[in-house]
């Protein structure tokens, strides 16, 4: 018997928006669940299949970040199938369009719930209830359904109504105040979205845990994940320091919590500047005395590093300024990949800071097959496209379905899963209730 994918046979409704919920569903799809995105051609969800459905040419011409990066620089007739910041969330998934604002649509959705095992959503609090498809509706249609809700701050408490992207969660959870350059005002801190992915991974974990519970007891359940709370682990050391010692940590930039020396990002030989993307940097982390001896021999034992006092962390901390200065002088004359290999050869954890264009050419990324040739909807491509990122020996985890276009699986879902006749499906299409295009009124 050949092995099946770990979650084969599990069907999951994906009502997610933006990144966090979508990533949870992506991981479950990678593991073999049949994940069906339920979308509405009459409703545009911002930051889910793009910022807007039809990005204006002026925005693209002006190079506005979120509006650019479509294949070959053109959005094409259906930009929502190709938006570069979102399309990677659609691999291995199915898409059906259902107009949840109508009674007929809700009935179709109800039928889909009946033949599904779980539902994943991360809409603003109260969205499902407004659509009259809240937990009561869901449980009525399927008693043992697993429902994962991922509101930003939870379903209860004073902040439950707050709208948020990942960047806001990080601010509230204290992350933003604890990262960035220690000597610059916090207004220089770059927005990041790591909270989305932490929540997404936890979401996939939670659904699998609930599936196991259901296998053993027959019982479904509601999982409430406040994305903010879920991101708490990223701040574990800061929380524990305050909890145990009443100590408030401060920003330390590229330093380590252990105050290792040297530990930072140093200039490598560059081909340009930060303004043109040609700057090169090497991260070097000397976490113990062995690493220091390795660094010293990688540099061919320069005189400035010869002192025995530098073989211990106290000595290196005392000589911090000298070390930083001399190390930068050494690295700035060398290529970052050359530094990477020579430092690792000597047992020092070091690596270039990779700008995105260099990722696809990295020997590791290529050897691991992290990206696979993939043609998008409407025959666009092929492109090197990111797939699942871990490997199972027997139960395959791979890119088995290219990123799904809006409504691509309407016939499969309505016809095979929900039992609609060909005529009924055609009627939905001709009246514009379902389709492959967002409503033309939507900008």
């Amino acid at each position: 018997m050949s092995a099946r994918k770990p979650l084969e046979g599990i069907r999951i409704i994906d009502l997610s928006v933006v990144w966090a919920g979508a990533f949870a569903a992506t991981l479950l799809a990678d593991l073999g669940a049949e994940v069906i995105k339920v979308e509405n051609v009459h409703v545009w969800q911002p930051m889910t299949r793009g910022t807007v459905a039809r990005p204006p040419h002026a925005a693209i011409a002006a190079g506005a970040g979120w509006a650019t990066g479509y294949p070959h620089g053109t959005p094409g007739p259906r930009p929502w199938n190709h938006a570069p910041s979102f399309v990677q969330m659609f691999r291995n998934k199915y898409s059906v369009t259902i107009d949840l604002l109508t009674d007929d649509g809700r009935e179709a959705f109800g039928r889909l719930v009946e033949c599904s095992d779980a539902l994943v959503e991360n809409n603003a609090a109260g969205t499902l209830e407004k659509l009259q498809i809240g937990p009561d509706f869901l449980q009525q249609r399927r008693q043992d359904l697993i429902v994962l809700r991922m509101p930003a701050y939870g379903q209860t408490g004073p902040y439950r109504e707050a709208r948020a992207l990942g960047v806001h969660l990080e601010s509230v959870m204290g992350h933003t105040m604890l990262r960035g350059y220690p000597d610059l005002d916090p207004s220089y801190i770059t927005p990041i979205y790591s909270g989305d992915y932490v929540a997404g991974a936890h979401g996939a974990f939670a659904v699998m845990a609930a599936l196991r519970h259901r296998r053993r007891t027959g019982e479904g359940q509601l999982i409430e994940m406040a994305q903010a709370e879920c991101a708490g682990g990223m701040l574990a050391q800061a929380f524990m320091d305050y909890s145990l010692n009443g100590r408030l940590q401060e920003r330390i930039g590229n330093g380590s919590l252990e105050d290792d020396v040297p530990h930072g990002v140093y200039p490598a030989r560059s081909h340009g500047t930060g303004a043109d993307g040609g700057d090169r940097w090497i991260a070097i982390t000397v976490l113990n005395d062995d690493h220091w001896r390795g660094l010293r021999s990688a540099m061919r034992n320069p005189e400035w590093a010869a002192g025995s006092e530098l073989e211990h962390i106290e000595g290196r901390r005392a000589a911090r300024h000298l070390i930083e200065q001399e190390l930068s002088a050494w690295t700035s004359e060398r290529d970052d990949y050359a530094l990477f290999h020579v430092l690792q050869w000597h047992g020092v954890p070091a690596a270039p800071i990779l700008a995105a264009p260099r990722v696809l050419n990295d020997p590791h990324v290529q050897a691991r097959g992290l990206n696979q040739a993939c043609t998008l909807a409407d025959g666009v491509g092929p492109f090197r496209f990111n797939g699942p990122f871990y490997r199972f020996e027997h139960t395959p985890v791979d890119l088995y379905k290219p990123p799904v276009a809006l409504g691509e699986d309407n016939h499969y879902v309505y016809g095979e899963l929900l039992g609609y006749s060909a005529e009924e499906i055609e009627a939905l299409e001709t009246t514009g209730r379902i389709g492959l295009d967002f409503d033309h009124e939507i900008p």
């Binding site: 190079g63 801190i189 530990h263 990779l354």
Partner: protein, 403 residues
């Protein structure tokens, strides 16, 4: 009430943030996670913060948090008699998690071949920096190099400076959370298909293909040679970035700027009526952005961050205050929801930790035991595995086990 992962036995040979977090998630939701620690304790025991700032084997707050609900067996896997103990532990468990360099377990004779021959439906999840077969498989990785090389660090910071990392060990935690999904998927396959297998998880790959904008910047380049750079200076755009206010800072996002909602938040000021703010590319014109922020700042600077956020919540504006850790511990929302969990520690008394990462209505998170002392469960676990008192005493006398 039932716990979701009750009955799953995880043999945890791992050390460090990523592995410990993957197994913590399992332990916190009911799995029986047995840490096999070297006799000197695993690395996290020596990572700050320490109680009162004094390093010690049983003093690390980091270790406390990342090892709740686990048991500890101190075992010197490099000592030859450890193999017989290891065999019984294979019999005991459903899955093994390890973080040793590729080949290290094999070199001890404790690798996949031994495991698989002994118990075919046990899986081995190997968490390594670059995986088992990468050209970099022997390279080391730290938090900074993980985020710098594989994550989206290049675009964090300003153009005239070096890129800058996230807090603490955030990237390791991201990779560890993803590893937890691989762990549970392997257990699922084992339970449903009676399959034991190797799972090869590279911490770097979770960053390259999974986390925070790395996919977006990579695909943007692949699709259209779009470059993603660090900001020119302070990141303020047309309502984007971190802004000062009366008592700190607030963060806005213009990713989906809704001027109607902003008008409501600011109570319909005259300056915002000007149609120029509604031009399609207003947010791309630097002089307009500057003027916008000049108009907005006086309103922000006389208000506190929590008041601003309350107004933003009422109006549906994307906004958040930059809270500090002490504010978060005192915060009404998180206290009401029970985010902070009081832990009773027999040396340090009561203190708070972040509790459940999510709420499962039918199979909830629970704190059954605090993080273990080194070797706290050595005797208990060996007895469970069928070793007699004399055998245990002999292993202890010969320095193979501790605790």
């Amino acid at each position: 009430m039932a716990v979701a992962l009750d009955g799953i036995r995880v043999l945890d040979l791992g050390e460090g943030i990523a592995g410990d977090y993957a197994t913590k998630l399992c332990a916190d939701f009911g799995a029986d996670v047995l840490k096999i620690e070297p006799l000197h304790g695993e690395t996290l025991r020596w990572q700050p913060p320490f109680k009162d700032g004094i390093p010690g084997l049983e003093r690390s707050g980091t270790f406390f948090w990342f090892n709740t609900n686990k048991r500890s067996l101190a075992l010197d896997l490099t000592a030859p008699p450890a193999a017989t103990v290891f065999d019984r532990l294979i019999d005991w468990c459903d899955i093994i998690v390890e973080t040793a360099p590729p080949g290290a377990l094999d070199a001890l004779g404790l690798g996949w071949q031994r495991i698989h021959e002994r118990k075919p439906n046990v899986s081995l999840l190997s968490l390594t920096p670059f995986g088992q077969d990468s050209p970099y498989r022997d390279y080391q990785l730290s938090e900074l190099t993980l985020f710098g090389f594989a994550g989206e660090m290049y675009t964090v910071g300003t153009q005239d400076r070096a890129p800058v990392k996230m807090y603490g060990t955030a990237a390791m935690l991201e990779s560890g959370a993803s590893a937890a999904t691989a762990l549970l998927a392997a257990v699922t396959a084992s339970e449903l298909q009676d399959i034991g297998q190797r799972v090869d998880f590279a911490l770097a790959d979770a960053q390259f293909n999974g986390v925070d904008r790395r996919h977006a910047t990579t695909i943007g380049w692949e699709f259209a040679q779009r470059q993603s750079l660090r900001a020119h200076g302070a990141a303020a755009g047309m309502l984007t970035g971190v802004y000062p206010c009366a008592d700190g800072y607030v963060e806005f996002s213009g990713a989906e700027l809704r001027l109607d909602r902003l008008e409501q938040m600011l109570q319909h000021p005259e300056w915002l009526q000007d149609p120029k703010w509604r031009e399609p590319n207003a947010a791309l014109q630097l002089d307009l952005v500057e003027e916008f922020n000049e108009q907005l700042l006086p309103w922000l600077l006389v208000r506190g961050k929590n008041d601003i956020w309350a107004a933003a919540r009422d109006a549906g504006v994307l906004c958040a205050p930059l809270l500090t850790v002490d504010e978060l511990f005192a915060d009404q929302h998180f206290n009401e929801r029970g985010f902070w969990h009081w832990l009773e520690h027999d040396g340090f008394g009561q203190f708070r930790i972040p509790g459940r990462p999510f709420i499962m209505s039918a199979s909830p998170w629970s704190l059954r035991r605090p993080a273990p002392r080194l070797g706290e469960h050595t005797t208990e676990c060996l007895t469970e595995c069928g070793f007699g008192d004399a055998e245990i005493a002999s292993l202890r006398d010969s320095g193979v086990i501790g605790g």
